[in-house]
């Protein structure tokens, strides 16, 4: 039996009934607090330590070996040390700040704190993405500062060049694409450990192995793999962009085919990856349940 009681009181207790911010404003608000949480977290210290170790190794190696090949010009110096190191830093920061960003909302139950509020899931997703991007940016800038300090020391003052800024901008686009993909994987799992493991395996070596197998054995250009696009980060330092397809003699009389993305292709892959994975991850998160 259901009994509906009559005679409720005529007024309520004076609740606050103002205007709830729009979806994007809520995302920005949330990102500020999430970023603050990152800055105070042990994972942030870990990330900075990783960058410091990479920077220290780089500085030590440079102090022993600073041949003309490396320190002869700013392009040679940054082309070698920035492009390679930045992608490693971006991948690590993606894993550390993004790997469990969404999965953790379910596993750690932080989602229950936010999702009972008048907020769209999209705001939570975007807010966490912005915070992870900002935290990753701090790590990349820290690496850049270490590198530029070495560059200024070995190359003399004024070694900062336009190609470095171009490459930095491309690295930021790559970071956008990588975090988009990381958030997509994070949305697929409700377990932080699985999410971090899958992201780490894929981005540290999985995608590279798949890329090599596809290019070398199947002889298909791996344009659909995000790590393929990362090569363009080094292009601003090169006198000419490498040939798109390179065929070299392989073992037992065969041929080995290597693919290099063209400049626009690399940028398009990054932008495409970002759009597809960000939308995909958001749609998944919209449908995930806090069971």
């Amino acid at each position: 039996m259901t009994t509906v009681l009559a005679s409720p009181p005529s007024s309520s207790g004076g609740p606050w009934m103002g205007q709830v911010p729009n979806t994007f404003s809520q995302a920005v608000l949330l990102s500020r607090y999430q970023f603050r949480d990152y800055l105070r977290s042990s994972r942030f210290i870990l990330m900075m330590a990783i960058v410091a170790v990479i920077g220290s190794i780089l500085s030590i190696v440079l102090s022993y070996y600073h041949g003309a090949g490396l320190t002869g010009s700013a392009d040679a110096f940054y082309g070698t040390l920035w492009a390679g190191g930045a992608t490693v830093v971006i991948i690590f920061s993606g894993i550390i700040f993004g790997g469990d960003a969404i999965a953790g909302e379910f596993q750690n139950k932080t989602g229950y704190f936010l999702m009972g509020l008048p907020i769209r899931r999209g705001s939570v997703y975007v807010g966490k993405f912005l915070a992870a991007y900002a935290a990753s940016l701090v790590a990349v800038i820290f690496y850049l500062v270490i590198l530029v300090a070495n560059g200024e020391y070995y190359l003399g003052g004024g070694a900062l060049s336009l190609p470095l800024f171009e490459s930095f901008a491309i690295a930021l686009l790559y970071m956008l694409a990588l975090l988009g993909a990381v958030f997509l994987f994070s949305s697929m799992f409700k377990n932080s450990l699985y999410a971090v493991l899958v992201v780490a395996v894929l981005f540290l070596f999985g995608f590279t192995i798949i890329e090599d197998l596809i290019a070398g054995l199947v002889k298909i250009e791996p344009w659909f793999i995000i790590t393929y696009a990362q090569n363009v980060i080094s292009y601003p330092f090169l006198a000419s962009v490498p040939a798109h397809v390179v065929t070299t003699p392989g073992p037992r009389g065969g041929e080995l085919t290597t693919y290099n993305p063209t400049y626009p292709q690399g940028l398009a892959i990054m932008a495409g990856y970002f759009l597809v994975t960000a939308v995909g991850g958001l749609l998944l998160f919209e449908r995930e349940e806090f069971t």
């Binding site: 207790g13 609740p15 750690n108 229950y112 509020l117 008048p118």
Partner: protein
């Protein structure tokens, strides 16, 4: 506006298991409604659909007449919720966590400041306002969660077993907080399986079992359901009572349908016939001067009805 909560044919299946089966329930007005049921009855499932944490297989949930499924943001604007035991970002302090909640709700900075002080005072966490939440005990975190649910002084408050995991003192404090909330002319909808807690703070109860609503009624009406049914009463005596004395002076009283000895100074009787018959038995026991020390129902009326209805549902 009268605060209200409504479920219309709200159903949720997990594969072949029906967690909630066509729940039709409308509660409105400033009151506290206890949402009761054994573990797995569907209480949390229903509350999660009221907050859009999970989605109904069919049916709809409404807060103040606004569909949660169709307009989640608008529906939750007037509600404060505490579902399960949420975790707050560990490096934030209670002040920052409540600032975040206030800001997301669109409150002004000065409103956030004053309201933060009020709700932290209400949950007795003022001294911890700038400490990191990550270092708090479960009970302290739960108090901050309750404070967060009250931040906007909502008309409707949904609480899912708010005293779960708390020590007896914490449970008593949560009961005090909920009692305090009733003064604010709010609709409080609180799931619990602690019947004494519900009796203590709620005005009405809705009982759920196997995903079905068994009844929704006021606590006083629930007691009336017991009329004509047997009530178990525990007796204790100042000194040991012999079997003969028990049988002649207790077991033979009108309304006493069974008698069992617990030990030399305690016994349990079953009394049939409602409150008047119970009062008569008590008067006669006192008049018999056999050293009656206490006369206490073994279970509350709610507990009796709860067990009765649940066992009906199970059979």
């Amino acid at each position: 506006m009268t605060p209200s909560l409504e479920a219309r044919q709200l159903t949720r299946r997990f594969g072949s298991f029906i967690a909630l089966d066509r729940l039709d329930l409308k509660v409105e007005g400033a009151k506290c409604v206890g949402f009761l049921g054994p573990n797995g009855a569907g209480k949390t499932t229903a509350l999660k659909m009221f907050t859009d944490l999970i989605f109904p297989t069919s049916g709809e949930a409404f807060i103040n007449g606004i569909s949660v499924q169709r307009e989640r943001k608008r529906a939750l604007t007037s509600a404060g919720t505490l579902i399960e035991t949420p975790e707050i970002y560990g490096s934030l302090s209670p002040r920052e966590a409540l600032e975040l909640v206030g800001a997301l709700r669109g409150m002004r900075a000065d409103e956030i400041r004053s309201r933060t002080a009020e709700v932290l005072d209400e949950v007795k966490m003022t001294d911890w306002v700038d400490k990191k939440v990550g270092r708090f005990s479960k009970g302290m975190k739960q108090r901050i969660n309750i404070a967060a649910s009250l931040m906007s002084d909502p008309e409707v408050v949904l609480l899912d077993e708010p005293s779960t995991g708390l020590d007896p003192r914490g449970m008593a404090e949560v009961r005090d907080i909920v009692r305090g909330l009733k003064r604010g002319r709010r609709l409080i909808f609180m799931s619990s399986h602690i019947l004494s807690e519900v009796v203590d703070v709620c005005d009405e109860v809705a009982l759920l079992n196997h995903g079905k609503l068994l009844f929704y009624d006021t606590l006083s009406n629930v007691e009336k359901r017991l009329v004509g049914n047997a009530t178990s009463v525990d007796l204790s005596f100042l000194s040991p009572v012999s079997d003969d004395a028990l049988a002649t002076q207790v077991g033979s009283l009108p309304g006493v349908s069974s008698l069992s000895r617990v030990d030399a100074q305690r016994a349990t009787v079953t009394i049939t016939g409602g409150h008047e018959v119970q009062a008569g038995v008590l008067e006669r026991l006192v008049a018999a001067r056999i050293g009656l020390l206490s006369f206490e129902p073994s279970r509350s009326a709610l507990e009796e009805v709860y067990l009765q209805e649940i066992s009906k549902g199970d059979s």
